[in-house]
Symmetry: C2
Subunit: 143 residues, 2 copies
């Protein structure tokens, strides 16, 4: 299996973990020293170090349905034990409060091969925001 | 000079180009096939391919002062001809309409060595957004 195929498998495992709202499987793809720039504040956090899944568990509990995430325009570049993967993600589902989520966001991942297995060492997920004075997150964009 | 030092020089050249509001110097650090996920919409754009600097020129013209950008917690990882650089950026200045900008955002860069010189092949800049129902971009966060 090529490196790119192994990384695609990892990304699929991650999407499956999100779909199943499985905190343990969600952190299994992360390196211990991962630095995460997530959709929600804070600016950065380091879930891998602590393996504290309580935030993730609380967030998963706010969903009434599986969380569907589909990657689009996925680029993967590999050199030795370092890889870069980026693309757009379409996330859909429904929250327990009735909110219907249908959002496209940008996902950039840095990966490192650690003891023979690829792990996510950095992740950056975001939407842009409108610079029309509203400072509204652009959660309604489509590719 | 090590790869990390060369990449730090490139990042400094980029900050200098922003400070000088110099469109030509700003795109000189980009690979032709760069895919950019910027603070502002759209989700993705490809300025490198076209070298169309008109958007950048228009944006620079909205600033009354130099644009100061200072990197913090900058991590650089290199393997062969691929590198990953990420950290927080503090951007300050004043717009022509009187708005004072003082924002921290996350910056992730993918770099490739092309014909002996490091170039940015992917960039991702963002703030998170508040998931309190407001969907407001979190432009007021501090590290």
């Amino acid at each position: 299996m090529t490196d790119a195929e192994q990384i695609r498998d990892l990304l699929q495992a991650r999407a499956d973990a999100l779909h199943a709202r499985d905190p343990l499987a969600s952190v299994a793809v992360l390196a211990d020293d991962v630095v995460s720039y997530d959709l929600a504040p804070p600016l950065a956090h380091a879930i891998g170090r602590t393996r504290d899944r309580s935030g993730l568990e609380q967030w998963y509990a706010t969903w009434a349905t599986p969380i569907v995430s589909e990657a689009s325009d996925q680029h993967i570049e590999v050199s030795g034990d370092l890889a870069l993967a980026y693309g757009l993600v379409h996330m859909t589902g429904a929250k327990t409060d009735g909110e219907v989520v249908d959002i496209w966001f940008r996902s950039t991942l840095g990966l490192r091969r650690i003891e023979g297995a690829w792990k996510i060492v950095h992740e950056h997920a975001s939407t842009p925001f409108y610079m029309d004075g509203s400072y509204r997150a652009a959660t309604d964009l489509r590719p």
